[in-house]
């Protein structure tokens, strides 16, 4: 006869409530651990998926994700000429927050080097990759945009032609993929009045200068569009993504690029490390500490539940001892109940997590290793918690049945 099961059967309603409570607690622990993993994955998902072996960024900078990076538009041509490099593509990366459909829309823009890059490598769940150099956009599901929807960014509207899944920035903002030209247009967009004021200021500066007085033609150029002034370069890009030849050594190519004084070179591994130790580090550590505290709270709660259950069974335990029940039967009952509460609670927590956690605003990633680790921790907590209950059960005297 299994006394633990009989006891649970007798107080089934309370057992259900207890395990649901424990399950909710464990679901929060799983969720926190999953959020921790989610932050890591958000921070590295784009880096892992874009397929670049090296990132060439602004000198002494660690961009384009961990910090701002601005490099000349034509740097990619220089990079592409280095032996061992298969492909050097430009990218632009920044975050905007605009109004769309009456709501705030926060989006990280990633400019693709059209026509070399059209976004074929992106995990599309609907639509297609970019089909033209302008006014098309691939939007992540997290942005809440739908296929065919038009989003006004700057002076132009961009039509969503594809929907990706899981492509978010380290802050959890959905990514919008457009061509580099469009990305630069959105980034450089200023109101017409600001443009007029800037042109006027340029004319004024040229007028005050000798060159303006001696070369009046320059005044005309200064008052015109930026693209008409040869002295001013085209808008900068954020980075050049390098794909190596199959047999090329990343270290050797990186050494060549690093010898250029105007740029920094970051390998794929370093880029991941920069993200994990930079922008998301404090958030990760914070969640890690909260998870640890939650585990301690869970341990205390489980121990108290098991101890209280044992206290409530004191008379029954005394009676069992009176009729000659060996210690192993009574202690086994306490231990089995503890493991059942922990095990069923864990199962409930897992099932609830499968239903609830996907609705969290940021990605929650439940990894098998973490789930197994938590199961082990819960089993350990149950064992330790039951020790207190078993200690109490061992101290119950059959004499108590007479009192």
């Amino acid at each position: 006869m299994n006394l633990a099961v009989k006891d649970i059967r007798h107080s089934f309603g309370r057992f259900v409530l207890t395990t649901v409570g424990v399950g909710l607690l464990l679901m929060v622990v799983m969720g926190m651990r999953g959020a921790y993993r989610g932050i890591e994955e958000d921070a590295t998902f784009l880096i892992d998926n874009v397929g670049a072996d090296l990132w060439v960024v602004q000198g002494r900078a660690q961009g384009p994700f961990a910090e701002l990076s601005r490099i000349p538009d034509n740097l990619s041509d220089r990079v592409a000429a280095v032996p061992g490099i298969h492909k050097a593509t430009r990218c632009v990366y920044y975050t905007v927050q605009r109004r769309h459909a009456g709501k705030s829309l926060r989006m990280s823009i990633f400019g693709l080097d059209w026509p070399v890059e059209k976004g074929e490598w992106l995990p599309l769940i609907a639509g297609r990759s970019l089909g033209q150099n302008h006014y098309e956009m691939l939007a992540d599901k997290a942005l809440g945009l739908s296929l065919g929807e038009q989003v006004k960014l700057g002076k132009d509207a961009y039509t969503v032609v594809g929907i990706t899944k899981g492509m978010v920035s380290q802050a959890g903002d959905g990514l919008g993929f457009v061509t580099i030209r469009d990305a630069q247009a959105i980034q450089e967009d200023v109101p017409g009045e600001a443009m007029r004021l800037e042109r006027s200021a340029r004319s004024a500066r040229a007028t005050r200068n000798d060159i303006g007085r001696t070369q009046p033609f320059i005044l005309d150029r200064a008052a015109g569009p930026v693209s008409n002034i040869p002295a001013l370069g085209s808008p900068p890009i954020s980075a050049v993504m390098v794909t190596l030849e199959p047999n090329a050594s990343a270290a050797e190519v990186a050494a060549v690029l690093s010898s250029w004084p105007d740029v920094s070179v970051i390998t794929h591994v370093e880029q991941r490390e920069l993200m994990l130790t930079g922008p998301v580090d404090k958030a990760r550590r914070q969640i890690g500490m909260i998870t640890s505290l939650l585990l301690i709270v869970s341990a205390v709660v489980l121990t108290l539940i098991i101890y209280t259950l044992t206290l409530e069974r004191a008379t029954a335990i005394a009676l069992l001892k009176l009729i000659g029940s060996p210690d192993r039967v009574i202690l086994g009952m306490v231990l089995q109940q503890a493991l059942l509460i922990g095990g069923v609670g864990y199962g409930i927590g897992y099932l609830l997590g499968q239903v609830i956690l996907p609705y969290f605003p940021r990605r929650v990633v439940l990894v098998d290793y973490d789930l197994l680790q938590l199961a082990g921790i819960v089993a350990g907590i149950c064992l330790l918690g039951s020790l207190l209950g078993m200690w109490k059960a061992a101290r119950v005297s059959p004499n108590e049945i007479l009192s």
Partner: protein, 236 residues
Amino acid sequence: MDETWAIETQNLTKIYGSGNTEVVALRDADIRIRHGEVVALLGPSGSGKSTFLAAVGLINPPTAGRIFLDGQLVMDGPRTFTDLRRFRRQHIGYVFPKSNLVPFLSAVENVQIALELDGQSSSVARRRALELLDYLGVADRADHMPSALSGGQQQRVAIARALANQPGIILADEPTAALDKQRGRQVMELFRMVAHEQNGGVIVVTHDQRALDVFDTIYEMEDGVLTRQASQLTVT
């Protein structure tokens, strides 16, 4: 001639507390109960009856004095000479006035557990438990939980459990308190039959004057002092 007694105590003394708070619950209690003898223990509340029963039942060790059960020295003061829990399981059946049943086991399971703890298989134990419940007239309540049983039904289930392992010694504290006259008498006669059939000793603490004729010997307890009142039947 040496005689082996079912229950024998020598100078059994139990003292609670010490110094100014010292209470002597039992004073040099001597008793000898033959195999097959049924003994009633009478006395007012607080006289020490339950303390005596708990000491003889190896639940609450005496401060001093010796306890022999079935001729075997089991305790000498607080010192024990056997595995008490096993001895209780195999040789003693208990019936107490309250908290008699495990609340999370059904009536039949409460009897069955005593048999299973003694090594019987679940199916054999259940069959035997049902037989006992039937014998005590509560078979129809076999699958009910204790909370769904009346006081009398609970008491009969507890008696069935006490008898389950056919113990040589039965210790009962007010076993008929919740029973009507007829059932009360039946229970007393049951104890007597068990004592005779199993050649064991039975001590019953009771206030029930209606069935005193069932007992072979009557003892009285007052202020911890045990005295023999009368011998009613000759036990052979």
